[in-house]
Subunit: 218 residues, 2 copies
DNA sequence: CGGAGCGTTGAGACTTTTCAACTTCCGTGG
DNA sequence: CCACGGAAGTTGAAAAGTCTCAACGCTCCG
């Protein structure tokens, strides 16, 4: 059974035999850009492995202010275990494929499968470390540093050559960095004017001077 | 063997028999306010359960700017598993007691102990959710909201009656909220002037109008 | 052609930081 | 007992940074 995530996701800890059991409770699903997988406030009933694409994890204020608190890439685990109500909304930034599981079925399967929880724990620890690095950025960095660091990060993850196609628009970049769309736009323009990047159009970004960006990113 | 964390920490998942094995690799340690348990950059060799007290988890820039990315309370797990190098510094805010384990000894013990990893996973997921709530605050809220929310949070965790003794000074509050010490001070004064809190002295805070604070916190 | 969505640019308002001075609190030593 | 010194907290004024509001440009698509 061909699954692009076979080696990276939770599945990697499963033997082929146990994997069949997992497949019995899972199903594939395609999400189109903009589609919502999980709504904050709804019962936390589904989890998934992201096979391809990019998802955003969004938290919202009572006032409606929103902050993207996580980006999910292929291999990442999606959803909230052990809680009854989702506190975060999960939305596809670009078309995405997932292995979807009902939480009720997955949790016992994880317990039954030695090593699965260890793998998820490892992943959760990594996600936590990443979230905390992000916190440092949100709390302590200025707009130019935020944008430069973000571009380097996206390039590291999704880049081909010196180019990246951002999986989101300016608005979502702002939601990630804790900035307004206008500030993001201005910083991008400033980086372009400084000759550090080129903006060939759309969501494409070329890093002309990664070292210079890194210097700004701090 | 009397351990105040017996029921809350990882130990809770261990049978009494297995707990002896755990005790064989662990040792108690007292940390005085200001003492460092783990230095970022050092090999990640120790983990612990916090028995009493409060610790701060600090990240640092290359430029020396710091951000507190986590506070640890009794029952919380301390340290970074599965990585060779610590990326965060852990410091006691007030005198604290811990059960200390060498990471090399703890990791196999966790694997051998069914349920232990599940428990840590549960805890890690909770910590992650908390970190993300914190991110929303760092990225999207103004100083008055940050301070009001912080005071409510501290009161919920450490409060007695309508009063709290903050386990840190203004400077550390600023490091938590992503503000300068002066801004924190000004906001506290403003809350006092508005009659929402009283500052009896030292690190004591009395919440005179929790509902009003909650309104500001948003 | 017209409209919608997205991005850019500008100007002024607002918030927070920075820098500096001053106060308070405490423990120490004269 | 009181003076001294340091650490922590407060306050003020100016500077810097970001946001808000508003206008405009561009592209895609009906």
């Amino acid at each position: 059974m061909a699954c692009a995530a076979r080696e990276v996701a939770v599945c990697a800890s499963f033997t082929d035999g146990a994997l069949s059991a997992l497949h019995a409770i899972g199903r594939r699903r395609t999400l189109h850009a903009g589609q919502v997988l999980i709504w904050a406030g709804d019962p936390s009933s589904v989890c998934a492995n992201l096979v391809s694409g990019v998802l955003k994890v969004v938290r919202e204020d009572l006032d409606g202010r929103t902050q993207i608190v996580g980006l999910l890439f292929p291999g990442d685990f999606v959803g909230e275990l052990f809680v009854e109500q989702a506190s975060e909304t999960v939305i596809a930034l670009v078309d995405a494929d997932l292995c979807l599981y009902s939480r009720r079925a997955l949790e016992p399967a994880l317990t039954a499968q030695p090593g699965a929880e260890a793998l998820l724990l490892r992943q959760a620890m990594g996600t936590l470390t990443e979230a905390r690095r992000w916190m440092l950025m949100l709390g302590r960095r200025h707009a130019p540093e935020k944008v430069a660091a973000f571009l380097l990060d996206m390039h590291r993850r999704l880049g081909t050559g010196d180019q990246v196609e951002l999986p989101m628009g300016r608005g979502a970049v702002g939601e990630i960095l804790g900035l307004t769309i206008e500030t993001v736009s201005r910083q991008m323009t400033a980086l372009k004017s400084a000759g550090l990047i080129a903006l060939p159009g759309g969501r494409q970004v070329r890093l002309l001077d990664p070292a210079g960006l890194a210097r700004i990113a701090g």
